[in-house]
């Protein structure tokens, strides 16, 4: 029972980590919280669903499609809602409010296009194979989620620390002005980061849609809030924090459901935030200085 719950928790948590990584990337580079990330995630789930349902494509192709669609959505958001704000000095709150605007717009657009009811993936999308490992049962979906999430997380880590573009992203995160002086095209890097974060959100959308087999316009809000919780819990703009924080949140939620208070599941995330703000306000892996320790 315990190990089974742990596996379920890890699976759920790895999707939270993926969502939180999207927040973290944008937070690290632009120092803003992208409140529309949850809605981009939801659009990813819908794009994946539509591709599987109508074009009958393989689930992995659907994930790639969702990633591309969300990356484009992210680029659009960057150009329309974020870039105009960078041109002039505005308060910290302006990008936050602007992205809240984007999130409300996207959620209601989805309600208009896809309707309020929850939709499911066609039954043949992924076989419901169950694998028995000792006393633990793992479904194929869970394995795919775990594999893809962890795979993406490690690729991202490696890419950020070792490649040229990754280094440019980290430089931009340190200071946009300095990066500019060093000859980095920061606008391009920012665009790339937002597209990358949104693409990750899109993949997470398809994965979550698969695992709970329900895709609805309001899923973005609840998932987005959890991603935010992980962002604060793990430490703003810290990638390790996002990964570990997501896993902890997933496990905590699964155990809350398993041992009693199932209806309080959605409150766990924010209980955790309030607790961490009391004990360690900079988050699990955050450093106490504001700028240091990014990524």
């Amino acid at each position: 029972m315990f190990w089974q719950q742990l596996v379920n928790g890890l699976t759920l948590g790895s999707t939270y980590s993926l969502v939180a990584l999207g927040y973290t990337l944008i937070m690290g580079v632009l120092n803003i919280i992208n409140m529309a990330h949850g809605e981009i995630f939801m659009f990813g789930a819908f794009v994946g669903l539509l591709l599987v349902t109508y074009l009958k494509v393989n689930i992995f192709v659907a994930m790639a499609g969702a990633m591309v669609a969300c990356a484009l959505l992210g680029i659009l958001m960057e150009m329309l809602a974020l870039r105009p704000l960078r041109r002039r000095a505005v308060s910290d709150l302006a990008p936050l409010i602007s992205t809240i605007g984007v999130s409300i717009f996207l959620e209601n657009l989805a309600l208009k296009i896809f309707g309020p009811q929850s939709q499911t993936f066609p039954s043949g999308a992924l076989s419901g194979v169950q694998i028995q490992l000792g006393s633990i049962q793992i479904s194929l979906v869970q394995i795919i989620i775990l594999g893809i999430s962890f795979g993406l997380m490690f690729v991202l880590r490696f890419w950020l620390s070792k490649t040229r573009v990754g280094k440019a992203i980290r430089t931009t995160a340190e200071s946009i002005d300095t990066a500019n002086l060093l000859g980095i095209n920061t606008n391009k890097i920012i665009l790339l980061t937002v597209a990358l974060a949104s693409g990750l959100g899109g993949i997470a959308g398809v994965l979550v849609g698969l695992s709970i087999n329900a895709v609805e316009p309001t899923m973005g809000l609840s998932m987005g809030l959890k991603g935010l919780a992980v962002l604060i819990f793990g430490g703003m703009g810290n990638i390790t924090g996002a990964m570990v924080g997501g896993l902890i949140l997933g496990i905590a939620e699964v155990f809350t459901v398993a041992y009693g208070a199932s209806s309080y599941r959605d409150a766990v995330a924010f209980g955790m935030i309030i607790l961490i703000l009391f004990i360690r306000p900079q988050g699990l892996f955050g450093s106490s200085t504001r700028k240091g320790g990014r990524f």
Partner: protein, 314 residues
């Protein structure tokens, strides 16, 4: 007279005033440059506390509403203390999460009646109507029907609340506390260097905002007969935020104008009402890009004063 005082217009006017009060609640927190996204949560606490006290414990409304406000403000201090020690966006996220927690708790508690919400809350209008007939005016006053009179009285009560709040805020702005708020908004580190206890003042502004949101919640419970957890969800917070974004949060008049416009516009554009939230979203993005200070800022007021002043001299 009947045309102006029909039920529909009175109802809209009541909601304009209620939203204006909510606008004041977000203005107070923004006065220190902090964004609180928990106003719907505080409203919810105020509304439920008040409704439970009046419906289940039989407390009079005029006691229930302030108690609801105080409850909301008390909880805001507990939440605000850790969140406010950090800068800027932490409060926004912590309060956003707090709103969700309140919603989940309200959904699960027995005393709040879960997803069904509390119905049969005595409305302010009905209470006033009863009081009027007890005073010997069972058919209304001055040629108005009983319903019109009581609605009008509700309007007066709300107007008094709002005027008091405006008075309070303008007085506050000229006091030591108000100047501390303005200093923190302009530059938090500089304010701290000047010897202002920034945490204290930020917490004060936050708690005042929560108090007013709680009171508005109590009022809304007694205006609509029914409250449910859905009334105080994220959308409500965004709506309140839009008042301040559209109207501007430099001056108290800003969010009030925002509330007025955003409550009236959907009524005028009935056909577009299903796009209301989409329009809100686009509006927020556009405002931030083109006019982040909102429609009314201090410069706007100065500009019009100068212009009108010159006009009068000629």
């Amino acid at each position: 007279m009947d045309v102006i005082l029909n039920q529909y217009y009175l109802q809209i006017a009541i909601f304009v005033l209620l939203n204006a009060i909510l606008g004041v609640s977000i203005y107070l927190t923004l006065a220190t440059g902090q964004l609180s996204l928990g106003n719907a949560g505080f409203m919810s606490i105020g509304a439920y506390t008040c409704a439970i006290l009046t419906v289940k414990a039989g407390l009079p409304i005029y006691l229930g509403i302030p108690i609801g406000g105080i409850a909301a403000s008390f909880i805001s201090i507990i939440i605000g203390f850790p969140a406010l020690r950090l800068t800027g966006i932490y409060l926004a996220i912590a309060t956003l999460g707090f709103g969700e927690v309140v919603r989940v708790i309200v959904l699960n508690l027995k005393v709040t009646n879960g997803a069904l919400g509390i119905s049969g809350i005595p409305t302010l209008g009905a209470k006033i109507g009863k009081a009027l007939s007890a005073l010997g005016f069972p058919h209304g006053v001055g040629g108005l029907t009983a319903q019109q009179t009581s609605n009008l009285m509700v309007l007066v009560v709300l107007l008094l609340c709002l005027s008091f709040l405006i008075f309070f805020c303008t007085r506050l702005n000229r006091s030591r506390v108000g100047r501390a708020f303005a200093a923190i908004k302009a530059d938090e580190s500089a304010a701290e260097a000047m010897g202002i206890n920034t945490t204290y003042y930020k917490l004060l502004a936050f708690a005042l905002g929560a108090l007013i949101a709680g009171i508005a919640g109590g009022l809304s419970a007694h205006l609509t007969f029914f409250i449910g957890p859905k009334d105080f969800a994220y959308n409500r917070t965004v709506e309140i935020l839009t008042f301040a974004v559209l109207g501007g949060s430099d001056l108290i008049i800003g969010p009030i104008v925002g509330a007025l416009l955003l409550t009236l516009l959907p009524e005028l554009l009935r056909s577009a009402s299903e796009y209301r939230l989409m329009i809100y979203g686009a509006l927020m993005v556009a405002m931030m890009a083109f006019r982040p200070q909102g429609l009314i800022s201090e410069e706007t007021v100065r500009f019009w004063k100068r212009k009108l002043g010159r006009g009068m001299k000629q």
